[in-house]
C-alpha cells in the first residue's frame, strides 16, 4: 500500500501556446486537509482536473493512490471532485443527484446527507436548473461531504453561499473529518475563512508552485513593519522583503521570516510597529502583480 495520496512530478498542462500548469512537483499525504490556493487562472482547477482524471497531463508523472488516475476505475472510485462549474443532466433534481451518489461513492452516508440537506435548507425536489447559485453550491458541498471519499476535492465550493451556510460547511467538514479522517483538498478565494482549517498550504501562481508548507509554519512567517523610513531600512536591511509601501517619510514593509522576541524588542526600540500578516495577506504579497517579478526569487523559499 502506498504512503502518499498524490504524487506529482513535472506535471504539465498546455493549451496551445499557454501553459496552464508548468512542471509542478508536489505530494499530498493522506488524511490531511490541504489548501490549494492562488489567484484566478493560476492553474488550481487544471491541477485538480488532472488529479481526478478529467484532463490528461501533457507532461510529467502523476500517481493518485499509486496509479495514474485517468480511466482507472479503481482509483477514480476513491475520488470525489466537487467542481465549481459542475454540470448536471437537464432534468435532474438535487434528490436525483443524491440518489445516484451511492452508486459511485461507496462510503456514501445517507443519514449524513439528509441532515446536510436540512442544514442548508436545500429544496431537494426542485430541478437543478431552477436552483440559485448558492443552492447549487450546497448540492456540491453535500455530495462532497456525504460521499466520504478517501480523496475529496472542493473547487471553490461555496460561490453564492452566505456566511451562515459557509460556517455550516466548515463545522460539518471538521466534525466529519475528525470522525472519518480522509484527504481533503480545498481550493478557495476565501483564504482567511479557511486558513485555520488547513494543515498544509500549496500556493500556485501562473502555473507554478510558489509555496508548499505546513499551515502552522506559514502562520506568523511574515510580518509587516511600519514606521519612519530610515528606521525601517535599518531594521529590514538583510531580511527578505515581499512587500513595500511608502507614504512621505513613512514606510510599511512586509518581510518574510519569523521574528523572534529579540527582533520584536529591537523593533520596539526603533519605534517601529509590528503587525501580523494573515495567510491571505501573505498570498496577496506573494502573488500580487506589482511583485510578480520579484516573487520569482521567492520560489525557493
Amino acid at each position: 500500500m502506498t504512503d502518499t495520496a498524490v504524487q506529482a512530478s513535472g506535471l504539465t498542462k498546455r493549451y496551445g501556446a499557454f501553459t496552464a500548469v508548468d512542471g509542478v512537483d508536489f505530494t499530498i499525504e493522506p488524511n490531511r486537509i490541504y489548501g490549494l490556493l492562488g489567484r484566478n487562472g493560476a492553474g488550481k482547477t487544471t491541477i485538480m482536473q488532472m488529479l481526478t482524471g478529467q484532463l490528461f497531463p501533457d507532461d510529467g508523472t502523476l500517481q493518485v493512490f499509486g496509479r495514474e488516475p485517468a480511466e482507472h476505475a479503481d482509483v477514480l472510485r476513491k475520488l470525489c471532485f466537487i467542481a465549481e462549474s459542475q454540470r448536471y443532466p437537464d432534468m435532474f433534481t438535487a434528490a436525483d443527484v443524491f440518489a445516484a451518489a451511492p452508486w459511485f461513492h461507496e462510503n456514501w452516508d445517507e443519514a449524513f446527507a439528509t441532515r446536510l440537506i436540512a442544514d442548508f435548507r436545500l429544496p431537494a425536489k426542485r430541478r437543478i436548473k431552477k436552483l440559485s447559485r448558492g443552492q447549487l453550491s450546497a448540492v456540491g458541498v453535500i455530495v462532497g461531504l456525504a460521499s466520504r471519499a478517501p480523496l475529496t476535492f472542493f473547487d471553490e465550493p461555496y460561490l453564492g453561499l452566505d456566511a451562515v451556510a459557509r460556517h455550516i460547511f466548515y463545522d460539518r467538514l471538521l466534525e466529519d473529518y475528525a470522525e472519518n479522517p480522509r484527504t481533503i483538498v480545498l481550493s478557495t478565494h476565501l483564504i482567511d475563512e479557511v486558513a485555520n482549517l488547513l494543515e498544509h498550504v500549496i500556493l500556485i501562481d501562473q502555473g507554478r508552485i510558489i509555496l508548499d508548507r505546513d499551515a502552522e509554519e506559514v502562520r506568523g512567517s511574515a510580518s509587516t513593519v511600519a514606521g519612519p523610513t530610515a528606521a525601517i531600512e535599518a531594521f529590514v536591511a538583510d531580511r527578505p522583503v515581499i512587500g513595500r509601501q511608502t507614504l512621505g517619510g513613512l514606510a510599511s514593509v512586509t518581510i518574510d521570516g519569523r521574528l523572534d522576541p529579540a527582533d520584536r524588542q529591537r523593533a520596539a526600540e526603533l519605534g517601529l510597529e509590528l503587525a501580523p500578516v494573515s495567510l491571505q495577506q501573505l498570498i496577496i504579497h506573494l502573488t500580487g502583480d506589482d511583485l510578480a517579478a520579484s516573487s520569482e526569487g521567492e520560489e525557493a523559499a
Binding site: I33, D171, A178, N196, L198, Q265, L274, P276, L279
Partner: protein
C-alpha cells in the same frame, strides 16, 4: 486566534490561562482534540499539536482511552513560569515607553500606585 503566532501555541496558552484563573481545576478533564477543533474551527492536527505541547511540558496528562487531565501542581508551576516572564513581557516595554515620554522610574511607580487605588 490572532495571526501573528502559530495557533497551536495559542491553544496551549488558552488552556494554561484557564488553569491559572481556576476555570480548569487540577485533575479536571480538558476538552478533547475534536472539541477544541470544532470550537475554534481549526484543523484537528493543530489542536493536537497544542495539546501535545501541554503534555510535553507536564501541564496535562493523557490517560489512554479516557481523556486528558490537568496535572497535579500544574497551576503552581504555571504561575511561577508566568511570573518569570512577567518582567520581560510587561515591565520592560512599560519602562521603554515611559522613557520615551520622559517619565522616570519614580514617577512610573507613583503612576502605578495611583492607578491601583482608582476604582
Amino acid at each position: 486566534m490572532d495571526d501573528s503566532r502559530p495557533i497551536f501555541i495559542q491553544i496551549a496558552e488558552q488552556v494554561e490561562n484557564d488553569i491559572i484563573d481556576g476555570a480548569l481545576a487540577e485533575n479536571a478533564q480538558i476538552p478533547s482534540i475534536n472539541e477544541f477543533a470544532a470550537f475554534h474551527r481549526i484543523n484537528p492536527a493543530t489542536a493536537l499539536k497544542g495539546v501535545n505541547r501541554l503534555v510535553d511540558t507536564g501541564i496535562v496528562v493523557k490517560r489512554r482511552g479516557i481523556g486528558m487531565f490537568v496535572m497535579e501542581g500544574a497551576r503552581a508551576r504555571l504561575m511561577e513560569q508566568r511570573r518569570a516572564e512577567f518582567a520581560a513581557q510587561y515591565v520592560r516595554p512599560l519602562i521603554l515607553e515611559a522613557r520615551k515620554l520622559g517619565i522616570d522610574v519614580e514617577s512610573l511607580a507613583e503612576l502605578i500606585r495611583s492607578e491601583r487605588t482608582e476604582p
